[in-house]
Symmetry: C2
């Protein structure tokens, strides 16, 4: 009986793939570069070729797999297995991904948005601890999220559930790519942290390495800001305070609405660890309703880059169970 799953995490630079057991253990994982040339038309054929070759060269046959799940950086028509568009992949128009892959590989295929898929990964094998109510927020180049309530991933009526990056934290604040102002993404993503740092440096009068870097137009990264804050830089600490205020406020409101057992913080910015988590938790507690504050916990993600492939595999498993 088939006991394995295939998880695919399709990103703008790399496509990660893995064979994963139904218990969520990674059996083997590999990756290929994502070829976004020619409007991304090589992406799906390359995935098919790579998965096919890995099955052939492995100890497994196709019959050992229950199905394939994939996370994609863009909005999805889940029912029809279509990616509506995905700027980072060069996909400007609808892509019928499911039918292509199902036909070529002869395995059931299901896909979802990458942040949703990563949420499922952390829920299944990471920091979610299998609680039925878990929210995941990923702080990367942008800010994404996923909401699992009663053990089910929520999509909402138009696929917009879990768009935590677009929670308004500062009315009339920074303009976001989405067209509105004051989105969390503009403050708590890696690019948001850099933006906040540049702005706050303008008005800062004092001794600070971060201020020097900004004045000398050196390349400031989010990682650098947290590193400097950790090492006592005053401006860097003010930047972290402002960023974590917005993050703590947004997550407190998520919790006031959903009261999940855990809110899991992942993505590159979360590598700052406690330098991010501690002040965020303080602002979270300040803005969460008592019954919620006492029960909803903030945690750092545990799976790192594997959340995508593990979550994608879990998607395939869930799909099997409901069909």
């Amino acid at each position: 009986m088939a006991r394995n799953l295939i998880g695919i995490d399709l990103g703008g630079t790399t496509t990660k793939m893995a064979f994963i057991s139904v218990d969520g253990e990674i059996l083997t994982k590999w990756s290929i570069p994502t070829d976004t040339s020619d409007d991304g038309k090589h992406i799906v054929p390359n995935i098919i070729k790579s998965v096919s070759a890995h099955i052939t060269s492995s100890e497994f046959s196709k019959a050992d797999f229950l199905g394939i799940g994939m996370g994609v950086p863009g909005p999805i028509d889940i029912e029809n297995g279509i990616v509506l568009f995905a700027v980072n992949l060069g996909w400007k128009q609808r892509q019928q991904v499911r039918d292509q892959i199902q036909e070529a590989l002869g395995l059931p295929f299901v896909l979802d948005n990458d942040a949703n898929v990563a949420s499922l990964g952390e829920y299944w094998k990471g920091a979610g601890e299998k609680d039925e109510d878990v929210v995941f927020v990923t702080l990367g180049t942008g800010v994404g999220g996923g909401v699992i309530a009663g053990g089910r991933l929520l999509h909402g009526v138009n696929g917009g559930a879990g768009e935590l990056g677009h929670v308004t934290v500062q009315p009339n604040g920074y303009l976001c790519n989405c067209g509105k102002r004051g989105c969390l993404e503009q403050y708590a993503s890696a690019t948001g942290v850099v933006h906040v740092a540049a702005d706050m440096a303008k008005d800062f009068l004092g001794t600070s390495r971060l201020k020097e870097m900004e004045d000398n137009q050196e390349n400031v990264t989010s990682k650098m800001v947290f590193y400097l804050a950790d090492n006592g830089d005053i401006l860097a600490n003010q930047v972290v305070d402002r960023v974590t205020f917005y993050l703590g406020l947004a997550l407190a409101n998520v919790a006031n609405i959903l009261n999940p057992a855990n809110i899991i913080i992942g993505g590159g910015v979360s590598n700052a660890g406690n330098t991010l988590l501690q002040p965020t938790t303080r602002y979270f507690q300040e803005n969460a309703f008592p019954a919620v504050r006492d029960s909803t916990k903030l945690r750092l993600a545990q799976l790192g880059n594997d959340a995508g492939v593990i979550g994608a595999a879990s998607l395939a498993l869930r799909f099997q169970k409901t069909n």
Copy 2:
């Protein structure tokens, strides 16, 4: 076969009750005063007596009813059928409500928080239009709410899901009874509107009936503020603008997280109708992510005072189906 349900809406002043068909039609409804004397110890016996008498005097027998549902103004231990406390009922300690009523009336009994129950009512027979994803916010003396996602009422890990009244809309704003600051309830409840009006009147320089009323220490109500706004009073319009800004912001963030088909606004303040709904919708649209703004609609509640008994009946029906 039993085709009917009993819905009870237990409030601080009145207890509303109804016999309701499994299709959600009210067959008969009545109410009794809620006797909160002696720490509320007469409340449950009075309900038992009243329901029992109404069954006897009706065309129905006990066998015609599937069960009883009830909404209560306080936090609940749903699994054990216990009300943890309910200030407005005089219940300072845990009350084993379910066992008392089940034993006395011999019918299955289930209870939930009143705002959750009203949400189910609007979801089932009111403005929810039976979409699977619906959020309900009730603007009364306080602000409550309920979240239905994928057709299921969410409770969260500690019963705090749907506490929309405690979404922070103004960091470091008005102090709330819950102990934190800037809760939606402090701005968009009936008492919140009055508070905002009193504060804004202090700084207002101009001609306004509302300003006059505040200066003369006349009794200003939320209803009066909306009435004056409707009739062109400048200060009253500024108050409505501020209140609806906060409400629109909070509901936009609910929608950015959940993307429900509908957010339904009920409670006494919602009787202001379009004077409330239009500016709230404008601020909602300003703060909602495009995919959400285009799909989540704000609507006024339709069931009025009947939402409680209808929702309570629906709770009993849902309970039957899952047990």
